[in-house]
């Protein structure tokens, strides 16, 4: 059984709601985290991301100035001087399937639908720490590998070619978002 040494992790929490930031800070500190930086909008979060170089970003979706989706897209710039690979956990009140897909396509690593729970947050953090996915760069996407299974019959516009090993054994982001933990 593995545990995370939270005191070695640096978090950036981005949520415009002060109550949710307080809850997140409380949860992360009680997990053992010491370094938790907070931003109340996407622009501030991006500045803090460059300055503090967090290990994990936890962001809300709906925020002023620019939102969590735009924040993810700005972090996932392959040519940026900063770190484009940091895990991004989208914690949001949005709970529609299409939102998960949009978040995934913006480069979000994990999706956690509110209401928040200690268990759900811990599991998402454990997953990004223990099971990082390779990154994929295409003409239109840069981020964690979005595929969760093999479909050799798929012939759509985003079909990748040139690989022999195509299987990634992991549940889809949507399945995980639906789970109660």
């Amino acid at each position: 059984m593995f545990r995370i040494d939270f005191n070695k992790l640096r978090f950036l929490v981005c949520d415009d709601n002060p109550h949710m930031r307080r809850i997140l800070r409380t949860l992360l500190h009680s997990f053992g985290a010491r370094e938790v930086y907070e931003a109340e909008d996407g622009a501030t979060a991006l500045e803090m991301y460059s300055h503090y170089v967090p290990d994990i970003v936890i962001t809300d979706w709906a925020m002023p100035i620019f939102d969590g989706l735009e924040l993810a897209q700005m972090i996932r710039q392959p040519e940026s001087k900063g770190n484009p690979y940091a895990p991004i956990i989208m914690l949001t009140g949005h709970s529609e399937k299409r939102r998960v897909t949009v978040a995934r396509d913006a480069g979000v690593t994990e999706f956690l639908a509110k209401p928040i729970s200690a268990k759900g947050l811990y599991q998402r953090i454990l997953n990004v720490v223990a099971n990082p996915r390779p990154f994929i760069k295409t003409k239109t996407y840069f981020g964690p590998d979005r595929r969760r299974n093999t479909n050799s019959a798929y012939m759509g516009p985003e079909r990748r070619v040139g690989e022999k090993h195509e299987v990634l054994q992991q549940p889809s982001l949507l399945d995980k978002a639906r789970s109660t933990i």
Binding site: R3, R22, G93
Partner: protein, 193 residues
């Protein structure tokens, strides 16, 4: 710690894409737990810490519903603008996300219903005012007037009925907008209460 140096990053190029792999930069924070440490459950510790905040939830929820009420008063007085619409949506959306944690699950359900109206009504100016006021007044009643209300079936029934009225309205006004209908009729992915 979070970033590997460039030489650790391996890029494999294919015709349509690149696969980028690197050593897990966070591997050092994982540790195997000894038998004697298994009682120290970080999740249980966090749940306890969250419970210790619960004395503040009523005040936080009051702040949230007052924001919602003020957002709608501004619309009632001066009409919809993008900014006022966004403020109403964000206020409702925050309640949707927070209210279960704060102990008001029925308020969360009603706020979700209100969010759907704001998001999927083709013309907010033409939405019957009662649809907004019934949602907002129900949330206000649950939070302001009777904290016990949320623990009994009345508030849950109120939430269900408002959701049905809102969904019937949205289904009717979106009958020619299949992309909205699909979203309106799709099940939520939110964890069950």
């Amino acid at each position: 710690m979070a970033k590997n140096s460039a030489r650790d990053i391996e890029v494999t190029a294919f015709a349509t894409h690149q696969i980028i792999t690197q050593p897990n930069p966070l591997r050092k924070v994982l540790r195997r737990v000894d038998e004697k440490d298994r009682d120290d459950d970080p999740v249980a510790r966090a749940e306890q810490a969250l419970a210790s905040l619960s004395g503040e939830f009523k005040a936080w929820m009051t702040t949230e519903v007052n924001r919602l009420s003020a957002a709608y008063v501004a619309i009632r007085n001066d009409g919809f603008t993008k900014e006022r619409r966004d403020e109403l949506f964000h206020a409702a959306h925050d309640i949707k996300g927070d209210a279960v944690t704060f102990g008001y699950p029925a308020a969360a359900g009603i706020a979700e219903s209100l969010c759907r109206v704001i998001e999927h009504a083709p013309d907010l100016e033409r939405v019957p005012a009662e649809l907004f006021t019934h949602h907002i007044n129900a949330i206000l009643a649950i939070v302001h007037e009777n904290t016990k209300l949320d623990s009994i079936s009345v508030s849950a029934e109120l939430s269900r009925r408002l959701r049905k009225v809102a969904d019937d309205y949205l289904t009717q006004v979106n009958r020619d907008r299949p992309e909205h209908l699909e979203v309106i009729l799709a099940p939520s992915i939110a964890p069950a209460e």
